[in-house]
């Protein structure tokens, strides 16, 4: 195996997992308990329950695999930082709300205008529906502010896709992907270039995911 490292929350015991998605640089696996695990080849794609690998294993879709990660060093901690964002960046996150006025995210924006945050679950375009990305962003921002995420905004399992629901579970627990964690760190600091880099990196998440996540964070900061 060409595994390099793991995220700190990867379960130490050997895991039996099923290959459910195979992308260019990511393989998503599902555990018996229904949680997502991932093998990724790029450091910036590290997230909760992830392994960084030099190359993707030659696993086929639907294949059941055993993964032993106990010997791997921890190379990523998905827990969001404890430092809240600097108020200096407030004008910047205000403009992230504008993403919701532009296609294709306007469908989410219109739904939000009706006033109910939880109603955007499973809504909109994207592999992970944009409404879920927004909710995850909202949860992340709320956690970052040191507050508790209101349980009523957490969607029911059947309202969205398996992968999206899993991401929301992580966000609710305060676990995030590296791109988001880098952004949280940058927002807590004063460095412009770090912030610029992390925002660019976030925007590269999926087709609409990055923008929806940012809009959700802005809502969460202003809640």
């Amino acid at each position: 195996m060409s595994f390099i490292g793991r995220s700190s929350d990867w379960q130490m015991a050997p895991l039996r997992l099923v290959v459910v998605e195979r992308h260019k640089s990511v393989i998503n696996l599902r555990s018996r308990a229904g949680r997502r695990y991932s093998v990724v080849t790029k450091g910036e794609d590290m997230g909760p329950r992830s392994i960084l690998s030099k190359r993707l294993p030659d696993w086929s879709m639907g294949e059941e695999v055993m993964v032993f990660a106990e010997a791997l060093p921890v190379c990523y901690d998905p827990e969001i930082p404890k430092t809240p964002p600097s108020r200096r960046w407030r004008p910047l996150w205000f403009e992230w709300l504008d993403f919701l006025a532009e296609p294709p995210l306007d469908v989410v924006g219109k739904e939000l205008a009706k006033g109910d945050l939880s109603s955007v679950a499973g809504l909109g375009p994207g592999l992970t529906p944009a409404g879920d990305d927004l909710l995850a962003g909202y949860m992340t921002a709320t956690k970052l502010r040191g507050e508790t995420v209101p349980a009523q905004i957490f969607p029911k399992m059947d309202t969205t896709t398996w992968l999206s629901f899993d991401i929301l579970r992580d966000a609710f627990a305060g676990l995030v992907w590296r791109r988001i964690k880098d952004l949280c760190d940058a927002l807590a600091g004063e460095g412009v270039s770090l912030l610029e880099e992390s925002l660019t990196s976030c925007l590269a998440m999926g087709h609409t995911s990055g923008r929806a996540y940012l809009a959700g964070m802005a809502l969460g900061f202003e809640a």
Partner: protein, 508 residues
């Protein structure tokens, strides 16, 4: 048989780059002969009519978009639909996000709190209010947008003056701050000269001519053409000049523009005289005359540059001027074997270049008609129909509302070159190609293609004369652009003034 259709999209505003990109996509469709997307301004309706589209029944206002297509009747409907679809996600404009760029002024300032200047390039009707916000945030403003009401310009400039800030524009397409070009600017060296200009391509021409003489520019402050009118009173021009006079790095001051209102000119010259710095004043065609060293009054752009370069190099400005005008005299010999009968038709992308060419031609061969004439009686009744000697400024508002400036796209001007070439009364076609950042990547190529087509029809009956305003360091490369034109049989001159003179000597 070719059919045509014009579709009106009510209340739809798109920037001119988007409209050009979509039009190009439509033109590449099989069965489509011609396609254009323009805002329904009076001028654009007139242009469509001149292109053979039936516009008499069109019910549209200037906030509406016109999608006009001509071609095989079976594909017209599909072309209109394709245009509407493409407008939602324009070709060449990535819908996937790239590098993060702040979208609001406050957002940008949070990331760049040390910024002290904003460049505004949005539709004119919104630009004034945005400029107001920038001034409130303590920023100097370069207002690239045009179509800002003069009342707004005056209020912005008064507010800026109170705050000690500059408002460059509206309609300020070019500026250079500490050697960095903004807007349409050429890649010229930095040096001891400071410019204030109420003329965009006038600024570019002097910038380029100075570079050709080995002299660089540190700052070039654009003011927008209306600044030197009586109503505005030269607020930015005066402030810019005062700033250059106080700047120890500036050794030579250059002023450029069409002649200001008399009271404004008087004020500007008074400030200049008080500053005691060597200066070349290039108010093109201005009435003021007589040098008062170290202050030199010039009437043309290249002359202004030659005098300023001499001042910067510690040479005698009067001799430099004399040598330049002697070189113009030698153009008569060059013109002798090129003699043609007929009128000159000038097709310009640069407004000041057009103005200067008219001024020179009027002195050599008589009055010139134009859409932007020297005297009101020489105004063309229809900018699309030439009469006598005609010089058209394609950068005028009538041609740029909802359409790319000709410095960014010469398609429309190239079409005119073709049609003018079919006029048996035409002897010379004169045009410019302005290079630099923001300009079309290959303006010479666009014009050369039209010249080649025209020459096939007109043979050698017409002489083509051009000027390439640019330097080799520009993205397009001046030498390369010149070569493209020369290979198409165009005689390329070293300055706008030279090109205008050569054209006159050919028909004179």
């Amino acid at each position: 048989m070719l059919l045509q259709r014009i579709h009106v999209e009510k209340g739809a505003y798109y920037d001119s780059v988007t409209l050009m990109l979509v039009a190009r996509e439509l033109q590449s469709m099989e069965g489509i002969e011609e396609a254009s997307l323009n805002m329904a301004t009076e001028a654009n309706l007139k242009i469509l009519a001149a292109a053979g589209f039936g516009v008499s029944d069109i019910q549209a206002g200037q906030s509406d978009l016109l999608i006009a297509v001509r071609g095989d009747g079976s594909v017209l409907e599909a072309a209109i639909e394709k245009a509407r679809e493409l407008l939602k996600n324009p070709p060449g404009r990535k819908s996937t996000p790239g590098e993060y760029r702040p979208k609001s002024l406050d957002g940008a300032l949070s990331m760049l709190p040390e910024a002290n200047m904003a460049l505004i390039s949005i539709a004119g009707r919104y630009a004034g209010d945005e400029a107001d916000k920038c001034l409130d945030a303590g920023l100097h403003v370069m207002l690239y947008s045009d179509n800002v009401p003069i009342e707004k310009e005056i209020s912005l400039k008064n507010k800026a003056k109170e705050k000690g800030l500059l408002v460059m524009g509206p309609d300020c397409g070019t500026a250079v701050i500490r050697g960095v070009g903004l807007g349409f600017a050429n890649a010229c060296p930095t040096g001891p000269v400071g410019l204030v200009a109420a003329a965009g391509t006038g600024l570019q021409e002097v910038h380029v001519q100075l570079a050709r003489r080995g002299v660089g520019v540190l700052h070039a402050i654009g003011t927008g053409g209306r600044d030197v009118k009586e109503e505005v009173g030269g607020i930015t021009f005066s402030m810019g000049l005062e700033a250059l006079l106080c700047d120890e790095e500036i050794q030579v001051v250059v002023l450029i523009g069409k002649p200001p209102a008399p009271s404004v000119e008087e004020r500007i010259l008074r400030i200049l005289e008080g500053g005691k710095k060597p200066a070349a004043v290039g108010f093109i065609g201005g009435k003021a005359s007589g040098d008062k060293p170290p202050l030199y009054l010039c009437r043309e752009l290249e002359e202004t540059a030659a005098v300023a370069a001499a001042l910067a190099n510690g040479k005698d400005p009067s001799s430099a001027r004399e040598e330049l005008f002697k070189s113009y005299e030698r153009l008569k010999e060059k013109a002798a074997p090129m003699k043609r009968k007929g009128f000159i038709r000038g097709l310009y992308s640069g407004g000041t270049l057009c103005y200067e060419a008219q001024l020179i031609a009027t002195g050599l061969i008589g009055s010139v008609y134009s859409n932007a004439p020297l005297a009101s009686e020489m105004k063309l009744a229809d900018s699309l129909k030439s009469r006598g000697h005609t010089m058209v400024d394609y950068g005028e508002d009538e041609f740029t509302q909802g359409r790319l400036h000709p410095m960014m796209d010469s398609t429309f001007r190239a079409e005119r070159l073709l049609s003018e070439s079919q006029d048996p009364d035409v002897g010379v076609i004169l045009f410019d190609c302005v290079l630099g950042y923001g300009c079309h990547p290959n303006p010479a190529g666009q014009m050369a293609e039209a010249v080649e087509k025209a020459r096939k029809k007109a043979g050698g009956r017409i002489a083509y004369v051009a000027y390439v305003c640019g330097v080799d360091a520009d993205p397009q490369g001046a030498t390369e652009q010149r070569k493209i034109l020369e290979e198409a049989g165009v005689t390329v001159c070293d300055s706008n003034a030279e090109a205008a003179r050569l054209a006159c000597y050919i028909v004179g």
